[in-house]
Symmetry: C2
Subunit: 246 residues, 2 copies
């Protein structure tokens, strides 16, 4: 069977212009911590999430009575209800609620990707589910790493490699994208001992410096949910795929 | 001894703004084929090379009687004397000459890097020499991968990893840069059989498609020269370091 759909990895939003096309589906990844937090919110029953790019928009929503999660550089913004740690998105806080969400890198990446056909949110937490979802779309796939302020990020690129590996196991997908090949090979190096490997990452050090590194183990837990957050009409909703892709 | 100087890898010129600072030295790499060709030109006795960003500038130099090497997307421009293959830069053509040079990615990267303290040209051909040169500068080092039209390129990133590995062997250098760590780990995967590994790269396929892949083996030959092309006063000159860095 001819492989018809390609998979590509974009290491930073700064070069997304080189990848974007209107027929592709995009998986946005920001492991530490936005996309892990979004998955957690839906696991705990959030109704939907409104991702916003700017602090001003988030402040405006807050003044209109919304529950707001907002951070920059790892720190909760003063007007927000809470920040970017997945542990903030508890059942008590989020079940049945609409959450407004703005972060340093992740939410901007989601908005940027929304010019494509469909956008989903990927994390280790939903690795298999989001990979199966992408396979089932039967379209070209772009994995967009949120990175750190337009820089390459190790933890996002490794997850991109893990998703690439899963999707390439499906017979209809191929890649000729250097960054997809690199991500997949880096994932092969890291996966035997992911937590030790990720200890090298800059964001790991940033979180440790700020006392925010309690989430590392949790954010690298694989397949603890089958929920796929997808972006539609400017909000994220949580869906599940009932049929396996393989 | 405290490690005082850092090394970083910039995977694409599109994000060089995140890395550049005036006190750093930059090693520009464009393995297939610009920086390999530049090293070859100096190995064959070129007096100096004027790297240019635009086709118009190259055409203007040609009209003033200069020897011009110029290509876009792997093809020789119609007004140029020859293109981007290292095999074009023969002794007969270049010995004692000034060469004007403009390519798709590499020469732009050199010009961009020139806002930093010092710029050198790196290739597999001068891997140890350019690494020792950077160590001897005793400044922060940025390795700038020319990439392919702002995309990540496997062959450039692998060389960046090889240079990173060499420089980190020196006790005064450290890295906390995710892309430097990734490049070094990719190099570890690739180096046992570099030519087979590079067969996966997109630029390898582009060159093969265009019948230009005769240079692959040559461009991945390690340490066949100790010449370091450095950029000074808008021209590249070839220098050698007489004292080993280690």
């Amino acid at each position: 069977m001819k492989k018809e759909k390609k998979i590509e990895v974009c290491f930073t939003p700064a070069v997304f212009d080189c990848f974007t096309h209107p027929d592709a589906v995009v998986i946005v990844v920001d492991v530490l911590r936005a996309t892990s937090a979004i998955c957690t919110a839906f696991m705990n029953g959030a109704a939907n999430i409104i991702p916003l790019e700017t602090i001003e928009e988030a402040r405006d929503y807050k003044s209109r009575g919304f529950l707001v999660a907002a951070e920059r550089d790892g720190f909760v913004l003063d007007f927000a209800d809470f920040g970017n740690s997945p542990f903030n998105f508890t059942k008590e806080r989020v079940a049945g609620k609409t959450i407004v969400y703005s972060t340093t890198n992740g939410t901007q990446a989601i908005k940027m990707a929304s010019e494509c056909y469909q956008v989903a949110v990927g994390a280790y937490l939903n690795l298999s589910a989001v990979s199966d979802w992408a396979i089932n779309q039967n379209r070209d796939v772009i994995i967009l790493c949120a990175g750190w302020k337009n820089r390459f990020s190790l933890e996002d690129s490794l997850l991109a490699g893990a998703i690439t590996e899963k999707i390439l196991e499906h017979s209809n997908f191929y890649t000729i994208c250097d960054s997809a090949i690199a991500a997949k090979d880096l994932w092969s190096v890291a996966k035997p001992d992911l937590i030790s490997y990720i200890d090298k990452a800059a964001q790991r050090s940033r979180l440790r410096l700020n006392g925010l590194d309690d989430v590392i183990d949790y954010c690298h837990s694989i397949d603890i949910t089958n929920i796929i957050p997808v972006y539609s009409d400017k909000v994220l909703i949580g869906i599940t795929e009932s049929v396996s892709a393989c």
